[in-house]
Amino acid sequence: MGTALARAAQWTAAGSGTGTLEITPLNESLLNQIIKFVEDFSSRHPQEAAFVFREPLEWETQLSSSVFGEDYEINDETAQSKAKDKDGKPLLLLTGSTLRVRSFDQLSRLLEVAVEKKLKEVQACLEANRDPIVKILGPAYGTVEGEDRSMLHLLDKVKRDDDTETEMKIKIFVFLHQLDLQLLNSALKQISQHVRLNPAAIDNEVNLLKNFSGKGEDTVLKSLQYTSDYVFFNGCRAPPWRQVHGEVCYLVIKPHDTGPLYITCSTAGVFLNGVSMKLAVIMSSILSYCHNTSYKTSPGQRERLLHATYGFSSHILCHRMAEAICLYETVRKDTGVERKSSTVSLKFKKKAISSESVKIQSSSKRYGLLISYSLIFKFLFSLLTVIVTLFSICTTPDMFEDESSSETEEDEEQPVCLQERSTDLPPEYWGIQKLAKYLKGGNATATVIALCSMRDFNLAQDTCQMAIRDLECLEVLINLLETEEIRCHIGSLRILKEISRNSMIRHAISDLGGLQIMVKILDSPSQDLRCLAAETIANVAKFKEARKTVRQHGGIKRLVRLLECTSVGSTSPTTYQVKDTEMARCGALALWSCSKSTRNKEAIRAAGGIPLLARWLRCSHVDILTPVAGTLQECASEPSYRLAIRMEGMIQYLVKNLSSESEELQMHCANAIFKCGEDKETRDLVRQHGGLQPLSALLSNSENKELLAAVTGAIWKCAISGENVSKFQEYKAVETLVELLPDQPEEILVNIVGALGECCQETANRSVIRRCGGIPPLVKLLSGTNQALLVNVTKTVGACATEPESMIIIDRLDGVRLLWSLLKNPNPDVQASAAWAICPCIENAKDSGEMVRSFVGGLELIINLLKSKNKEVLTSVCAAITNIAKDEENLAVITDHGVVSLLSKLANTKNDKLRRHLAEAISHCCKWGSNRLTFGENKAVAPLVRYLKSSDPSVHRATAQALYHLSEDPNNCITMHESGVVKLLLVMVGSTDETLQEAAAGCIANIRRLALATEKAKYG
């Protein structure tokens, strides 16, 4: 059941760790089958059910101890079965909500008591035990990818010693296998409904079957023929008026024993004419029959049984099937067939089998014991292929993959359209045409000469590349890769490697299925070949589909394997090491190309690529460092990689290579640091390894824009840590950054301004920016449109505005107006960032009240932002309102715009940051007219009291001040008192924060005064 669980079941968060089973119809049917299997297990196989698992299956149950019956000892939270294993441990143990079960017997009983919670329990169990077979039988039996030899090992073992335990294990293993197949089969049924046939696939299948038909006893069929030789342009053979019904072609099949069968192939499947039943149904019934027959026999017995039941050929069939199923594992590797065609072949093979079974039936009657074994073997073969294809479908990793994959493609290339072909062809064309003749027609010797001569052409040249493509050499070159001649492989790959730099050729190679073959070549024993194949893959895998193809055919794993160096430990720099380096370089190049797809990043990680990349990062050859660092920086977009890069100690080497000779390498390292700089620990590591100095130094190289973008990005992220900022100060990075401000492309500006913004945490840097003349270019950038840039610019300008001298410059350049107009930007990040920047501007500008009033409609604009849904926008606007309300006239205007009711509406928030700024805004707004009263009427007071229970002291302070101002109104005092404010404020009075103390005390005083006044009024 391992394969089914790993492949067929739909897991959320596939991959490592614990995933959960998604709730889909497919999963539900899988679970139901598993339940049925377990429930029936103890009655059908009582002996095996008593088998004690190697380790208990353990999971969090929802069952309570009370549901267990009399066979269990129960005391409140725990329950244990009376049945014990030979060491006296209970077979079922429930402690709290953790359940441990150690036999099938107990499992099926458990399901009995679980009643309607069955499904949930099985799901929880499987989620907690991703490969239950391991726990049941021991780790040697785990589900492995690819070839599974555990069965064979087991058989060996049984042969050697006759111990009952192994036999028992074998039986259980076979049962589980059966279940596995059953699950896969039912999953397949669901999947195959979505797959349709096409003419090319049918044609392939027919040709395949034709190889096995002819005269003589040892063939599968007598003959197999199309009814019509005429092929329409679309590949169909059916007449057009039947094609509209989806029919593709018709076949006449002559089996050895019965009359001819007439078959219709349509896009919906393959049908036997005159029989309305889908052949798929026949096959599935045979298979299910096979599942129901027992495996309890030993090989010897099976042989005898075979003889005894030869009369009932269906039994033999099932036996053979059973054996075939055991065997399928060894062949399972051959699953390179495409999914569609494999389903087709499946359907075709079904057909073959059904006729075969008829044949065997009759022939067995005729020949008695002498049933032709060759026939059975043929049958076995076809069955095997069915099973192989069956599994190829289920083991194709992306079977359940969402086709609209999440791959992030920034640099997706599209094949450029062919330019107008000029009438006179270049001389290269004729030269290549001559060679093409020998490629196509010659034997290996002639081909090699042609291949070597072709390299003398300038293959980097467009005309040559196009000539090769137009002369159909590409097909031949790819075909050569499938020949036996290694020299042809090498010669062909050398050319493919060169011409695949052309994007049209890349697409053509991929379309011709070249990638699949090259991935296979990665397994070749010849190092040269592996290198060439990897390099070509590196060139071809520059677009999405190609990368996907590489992954789906197991290319990533093989490429990662190229990075493993075989000669570790040898001390002298032998040729081996040179070869290793070369191979790793090619492998890394290919991985680099592939790593642009998110799924490939994951695949590289899963294939164990990270430690290998880390190891090669330590070497000192630029050739290999560049692709390695390139791959790493590409992958650093994933959090898992960022963690790994830090944990594997790669930061040190990334930093080291910042000082490399190669600008490309420097760029990749800087980019990797840029992406990894999101994590604080990484930033610290960069500093500790002395990376900040080379980064600052690299700023002087402003010619290489890509490098500059990476370096400024790295500086930006590193500057998030305060310690790093002071280092940058030391290296005069801020000055250089300011100098770089004019005339840069936007993507670099984003990083530069981001870096400046972070550096402004340090007060000294603010004046540095001013002194270096950084403010005018910054203010100029405020009128830009790039949103990422605007966020950074507003932040930086805001930081500068905290300094009065800078503020004068900003004011003179009309920067505040620009900031204010950014509040109209549709992007909430920009809105929030602009509002934050406005705060210090109002605080530090001279005559700020007048300035704010001068923006026509400005106050209305900012008040309306209080209707935003974004928390950060709300918070920043509250902060801005706090500052605006300091000017009385402006406060009057915003009151008219309804600031009070809008603020009151926000009062129920749970966000501490918003609470703080909201409370500040409220306390400032209280100072005008009847605003206090209005806040009370809008029910803002009671929620404010609750803020005092927050854990954030800054919230307390702001709230206490707001409450103090609100308490000037008697009605508010009553509300506060009712909300239990006094007790809370009393605690605040004891605070060390004087402002808080004062505000709290003032508020209590107001409340007390009111109480006294009331009493006085009452009792006179």
Partner: protein, 182 residues
């Protein structure tokens, strides 16, 4: 004999030499052999090369025989056998270049001429509609090969060596005369 062979052989150890000599003795004892128990005649040699390495080209096999047969007596002695195989199976690139050149130099004059190339490449192309077409195709192929290796109409050992060192795929440029690379 065994010891002297072991000493002189660069690429085989004693056990291997022993096996080769045993094989030699068995082959030499075959009744069809012309020089029973002395050496291998052309047919026996060709036969064993064909069976062991799947070499089929008769012209090449003849030349391989000649190259093995250093003293030109039409009979391969035990020494020639072991020494020949030493290059054939384990030779360094240099030895192999020399060996291949000798094989391709049909008349042994130190050059591979245009005619020799034509002879060697004669069966490279599938049968064309007419004899002339085939000949024309081969001639073109010879031209291509010549262009690749040299420009003065024939290939000297120097030319051959330079070409092969530049591109080792061309070691067996004019027909398979070494075991398959695996």
């Amino acid at each position: 004999l065994l010891d002297s062979l072991t000493r002189s052989s660069k690429h085989f150890n004693k056990g291997e030499v022993e096996c080769l000599v045993k094989l030699f003795n068995r082959l030499a004892a075959e009744p069809s052999n012309h020089f029973v128990n002395v050496g291998l005649d052309r047919n026996v040699f060709k036969d064993v090369m064909h069976r062991t390495f799947g070499m089929t080209d008769d012209v090449i096999l003849d030349r391989v025989f000649r190259t093995f047969d250093k003293d030109n007596n039409n009979c391969i002695s035990a020494v020639e056998w072991v020494e020949g195989l030493s290059v054939f199976l384990r030779g360094t690139l240099e030895e192999k270049i020399k060996y291949c050149f000798q094989v391709y130099d049909l008349n042994g004059d130190g050059y591979i001429s245009r005619d020799e190339m034509f002879q060697l490449l004669k069966y490279c192309l599938p049968k064309q509609p007419s004899e002339e077409d085939t000949d024309e195709g081969i001639k073109d192929l010879v031209d291509i090969a010549l262009k690749k290796m040299d420009h003065d109409g024939k290939i000297s050992f120097m030319d051959f060596e330079t070409t092969v060192r530049d591109d080792y795929l061309l070691l067996e440029a004019f027909g398979p005369c070494l075991p398959d690379i695996k």
